[in-house]
Symmetry: C2
Subunit: 789 residues, 2 copies
């Protein structure tokens, strides 16, 4: 086989690679003397040496070759660096392309800029050592491993012209989310979506161990990738010239293969039914820390786990400064940069230009491309409600109709998708299937429902994949919503955590434009998982989100369907947030008509004066947040009417949980005066809460009346039982709430024993009925709100 690259091409590629490696090593080590104009000395070297060299030369090699491919085929390509801890490589590449200087003009393309580039890396108030939101061209952090491939697929959906090159480290490949994400190709439609070009980079080692995929036989590895639905191309070597030739040739073949698949899928008149094709994947096997020191202090470094971070670290050791100098000079910087520190023009000319530069691809700054959704008037979907509590509805089913039309309106722009782990119908959002199907590329069978290659609902039984796809979709400028069983959203705690960190960082970067919020609809929640039992009962995800900063985290607990509509509309319009909406799917009583719901949700909290005869000077405040707590609270109000007719109760419902925090802590926080007016400064407050009670306490510990708050919520007591009994075993039920009131209102102290006796007799009746009938008491099942007299 003759050479694929001409000598000139080969030399150009190699020079570009050397330039990027030089810049990477410089970032890790140098704080002075960036062009080695004087002999390297200890004073030139940073005091704290941070960074990951091991993966860096591989990332640079791939990036350099992809540049060539982009130029040759005029490709619209995005770069996802799974080993994002190889930050020096990606920073170097964006600097060589000029994008870095465009974003950060003080980092000029000269020796002064080089100095800044080197110094800022992993330096206080500089840039992080991982690829982060600070780096142009990136949509993926790479600090926590596992999500690069799902992000890449998310970016590719609905971007037919885009190729997302995704480098997967062999360490990351061991993680669960990554291992599952390979199957994303079953959900990518080559006719309408872009392509993902996975590059599995086997450099052989993690921090301290070999990697699994680098040590299994090539036979097993290629079978594994074929089993995942890919056609593996192998490039391997530790001799640059040979690797350049093989890599260039192979990438060329792979791009043609991608085009062939896309062309076949996009032919307007196909005779055969389209079939999922094997997409190409590149397996690149090169030494870890390639081109770095081969030995340090007698130990082999290049090609081993010792190259993972900083191969030379102890510069007190004799010869190490010199070894670093030799390493840097091995890239022959004088052949790469002019005397002023600018990249030589013939090398610079090898990079793509304008938006073809991967670092300047607008998809990586999704806010640039973001188009607001054409949202239908959500009020048109409202439940018609003559008076509070006069009918039941399934909140998520009502939302489903709205989402159906969101989906319908977005057909032209193709910028909205719905995500869920096999639960869209179970979560009662299935109205969307009237206008679209679930994406599915594999063969269909007779009883399949709502599956199609061009479906826009993304279902796979992996919360990780759903979340990763959605994040990639959002960060490239689109919109979406993920619905999930409440308990199982914990599976992606760490992903949401990392996404929130990304959003917070991105918000501080002027050139990053706002992206659509991450919208999480948590339904099938703790209070209505009685049939699935304890493993399905956990409301703790909102605790995690409440720990995120106030500029990112939003938590909504709509009490009914109309409030859900209002909240969902708001969330779909919002930008740069993590919005969590918690609401049930079961038929429940409805409380607010269209207009009342809009007002209530705009305020985030409200006094429900219709619930009580006189709530002006209340004896007690009954607060609630969440649909089931609201139901139990209102039922308790009707009990109290009967037990203590002259009691003045005030009902307060909280939709936006963050109103509870002080306004100094969260922008949604109520001013203290408003809070005190609502909750009084001295009356008992019985607070029925959807989640763990501790969350309420921590949100409002600064409030005047805090010591009088008595919060009921989930006490980690779960079981397979009935819906009402879930409330009972967690002390959130109407009888308990009514008893709480009697016990805490001073003037009712003499009724306390009678109330307790009544409570215990009711509990006995409840338990006996439950055991006998397996159902809730008729008075609970048939309870209905009656207006206050």
């Amino acid at each position: 086989m003759g050479d694929f690259l001409t000598t000139e091409e080969l030399e150009g590629l190699d020079a570009y690679w050397r330039a990027s490696n030089y810049l990477a090593v410089g970032q890790i080590y140098l704080k002075r003397n960036p062009l080695l104009e004087t002999p390297l000395s200890l004073a030139d070297i940073k005091p704290r040496l941070l960074g990951h060299w091991g993966t860096t030369p591989g990332l640079n090699l791939i990036y350099t070759h992809l540049n060539r491919l982009i130029n040759q085929y005029d490709l619209n390509m995005l770069f996802v660096a799974g080993p994002g801890h190889g930050g020096p490589a990606v920073v170097a590449q964006t600097y060589l392309e000029g994008t870095y200087t465009e974003c950060y003009p003080s980092v000029e393309r000269n020796s002064n800029g080089l100095l800044r580039l080197f110094r800022q890396f992993s330096w206080p108030y500089g840039i992080s050592s991982h690829v982060s939101a600070q780096i142009p061209g990136s949509i993926h952090e790479g600090g926590e491993l596992g999500y690069c491939l799902a992000h890449a697929y998310g970016a590719a959906f609905d971007n037919p012209d885009l190729i997302v090159a995704c480098v997967i480290g062999d360490g990351e490949a061991e993680t669960g989310p990554l291992a599952a994400s390979w199957h994303s190709n079953k959900f990518l439609n080559p006719a309408r979506d872009g392509a993902v070009l996975p590059i599995l980079h086997l450099n052989g080692y993690k921090i301290a161990n070999p990697t699994v995929l680098s040590r299994i036989s090539e036979d097993e590895l290629s079978a594994l990738l074929y089993g995942y639905g890919y056609d593996a191309y192998f490039v391997e070597g530790d001799e640059p010239e040979q690797v350049h030739q093989a890599l260039a040739r192979t990438l060329h073949t792979m791009v043609l293969k991608i085009r062939e698949i896309q062309h076949a899928a996009r032919q307007p008149s196909r005779n055969e039914a389209p079939q999922r094709q094997l997409w190409p994947v590149l397996v690149l096997r090169t030494p870890k820390g390639w081109t770095g020191p081969k030995f340090v202090d007698g130990c082999r470094v290049e090609g081993t786990w010792r190259a993972h971070q900083v191969p030379l670290a102890n510069f007190q050791a004799p010869g190490h400064v010199q070894q670093l100098e030799e390493w840097l000079k091995s890239y022959r910087p004088q052949e790469l940069f002019d005397a002023d520190g600018a990249l030589l023009p013939d090398i610079a000319a090898l990079a793509p230009t304008g938006h073809r530069r991967m670092s300047a691809n607008p998809h990586a700054n999704g806010g640039l491309l973001l188009r607001a959704l054409d949202l239908p008037r959500y009020a048109d979907y409202a439940v018609d409600l003559p008076t509070p509590g006069s009918r039941r509805a399934e909140a998520t089913r009502v939302l489903g109709a709205f989402l159906r039309d969101v989906m319908k309106n977005a057909r032209g722009t193709a910028n909205f998708r719905l995500f869920g782990p096999d639960e869209t119908a179970s979560n009662r959002l299935d109205a969307v299937y009237e206008v679209t199907a679930k994406a599915w590329m594999d063969p269909l069978e007779a009883d399949d429902l709502n599956l199609a290659m061009d479906g826009r609902v993304m279902e796979v039984l992996s919360e990780h994949m759903c979340e990763g796809w959605l994040e990639g979709y959002l960060l490239t400028g689109r919109h979406g919503l993920l619905s999930c069983y409440e308990a199982f959203i914990h599976i992606v705690d760490s992903m949401v955590n990392q996404h929130a960190k990304w959003l917070k960082t991105a918000a501080g970067i002027p050139w990053r434009k706002p992206v659509a919020s991450l919208n999480l609809l948590l339904t099938s929640h703790v209070w209505r998982q009685d049939h699935n039992g304890f493993s399905h009962q956990d409301p703790g995800f909102i605790d995690l989100v409440a720990n995120k900063t106030a500029d990112v985290a939003r938590i909504y607990l709509p009490p009914d369907a109309n409030c859900l509509l209002s909240v969902a509309d708001h969330c779909l319009r919002s930008r740069n947030y993590v919005n969590v909406i918690v609401v049930g799917k079961q038929p429940e009583w409805q409380w607010l008509d269209r207009d009342a719901a809009i007002r209530h949700c705009m305020a985030g909290i409200g006094r429900w004066d219709w619930a009580c005869h006189d709530d002006q000077e209340p004896d007690v405040v009954m607060a609630c947040a969440g649909d089931v707590p609201t139901l139990e609270t209102l039922a308790a109000v009707t009990l109290l009417r009967e037990y203590v007719p002259d009691l003045r109760v005030r009902v307060i419902n909280v939709v936006d949980l963050m109103v509870l925090q002080s306004s100094s802590q969260h922008p949604h926080g109520l001013a203290d005066a408003t809070f005190d007016e609502l909750f009084t400064t001295d009356k008992p407050v019985i607070f029925a809460f959807h989640g763990y009670p501790a969350l309420v306490h921590r949100l409002l510990y600064k409030r005047t009346n805090h010591d009088n708050f008595h919060v009921r919520g989930f006490r980690e007591e779960g079981a397979t039982t009935t819906p009402f009994d879930m409330a009972v075993i967690n002390h959130l039920d109407r009888y308990q709430l009514a008893l709480d009131v009697v016990e805490r209102v001073p003037r009712l102290q003499d009724q306390r024993h009678a109330a307790q006796a009544r409570y215990w007799s009711m509990m006995e009746k409840h338990k006996l009925y439950l055991i006998e009938h397996g159902e809730d008491l008729p008075e609970v099942l048939n309870w209905q709100w009656t207006p206050a007299p």
Copy 2:
């Protein structure tokens, strides 16, 4: 190929399968008339129909055939039901074997018992619909999907005679943790460990969708499994007789294959170096809801997603009661049970007996087999400390020496392993490598360190696999510890959550014996991830654990190495807890000598009177929890000595976080009187906390002096910076703490402005120095404790 089973064998197997299916359907539907002695009527049917029929007949088929295999080869076999939501199947099997009645004598083996068996299922105060701790023979819940295979491998480690049959649903197979767990075979040593027999059950559907693995070609699927390192055996069909024959024949072959692999590995004199072998995996393709209704209301049910839960649900519809009766009668119960409801003796005789019954395998009730670790005297490993603050040590390195000898002492019992995602050395526990290596079955290369087939440290870059292995190892009666970067333990939030639920449930079951606690060592923590940046900075895992019930959750924040030793020793002796230990790995000042550390950790909290000149009637209490907050607090004390020499400060250190909760909420909670004595009832308390401040507020909101607590902790402000600057940007640094004191002590109000000015000037100095030098101020780096005058 002739028939494998004789007619008699075939009929026996089929009868047993029918019996188990009958019992499963009975559990889902019947509350009366268990033997259909009278025509089925609406009154016999439960009012709430819950359960998952779809996976049930497949589980029953597999279980029945495994029984045959156990008898034939006298196998020691454990059953892990990945589709644990098919609870009715597993309950039915344990009942047929008699184990259920042994555990729950009221569920007799007669018609009375049958009635109880049916009624209790998914009935309030009965049993859950998922396989749970309530069910004998189980170590795996199956409510949250993804972990069955990791649990199975964890159970097999160090149990050379055990075969763990693990049924993997094709839904669960889509999850990330499961997709990664196949590679567990690279860490299982056939010479010393047992075998895992994975059974991938392709019934084709999830809740509402086909599954990925059931729709890819058999070619891709067998390549995938080969790529994972398995040899796939396929059994497929929807005709019982044919499937029985093929399944029996195939399982027979597979067991011989397992024995062959084990025999080869265990031969005392091998000539060749052992190599990882391909383990057999069974792919069983049978219809979802097999033997259930083929059609309901004109829609196909058997073999489709419609069979997932309850195929017949609406008994108001005409003919449905009759259809259920026909379904039940299709199993020909009169050929299975005698008139009294007992299984006919010749069918019952097909089950294994005694401990060979999978439901009575002692490994599934690990506490039965648990042997306490032979722990070395931890005090022998203590850092020698003449006075507080007189030397530095790396806490986890000190622990490493102790763990090394724990490991050494456990060599004979082979009941302790250390788990970690490629971080044991990074977390400075590498002393263990003096006595063991990391388990690794693939080829070795020259620069590999500490890898061996018989290694007892389990490293793979998947927190999911590490956690799953450890859970499986613990639940089968062994001990272990997982070390993890603090931020990334969030990856397994949901797994720890589910394990805590398991422990809580198991603790209420008399026949379940206590198992060793789940010990999580979180190091490389938020305050010392300055080099890795924001993505690596998150202390929120303890918030999650604090939501678990008090009988399960334990959180420790040792301030130094000696306290870590004491805490670790305690955790390794404890049972049935989730113990979280958070401590850094960097060289830090040490505070307590051996004896002081023991006393301090036994109390969980302590007044450090050595830190202050006079702490009897303090002006202010300075509390701290966590190593870095302790350091900053003591440094603040030295600053205050200088600024306000006459100030009376009391220093309190918290090791056991749960002492903060009231004693009514947690057994470790301090009595109010003790708490008030320590923290005063009216003095300001400046609390420097390792995690998010809100956690402290929620733990102590009931305490008298709560309103005077001012908590500093992580504010979600992360960056790539220096260690001290991490404290600064989160307002936890010594200067801020000293300022907090001046601002909050009433008699210092006139010094407030001067203190603020001093603070700001120090901050300016800090930032300028940082930017210039990239290092912390010399007075911070060189700070050392000096005893109070």
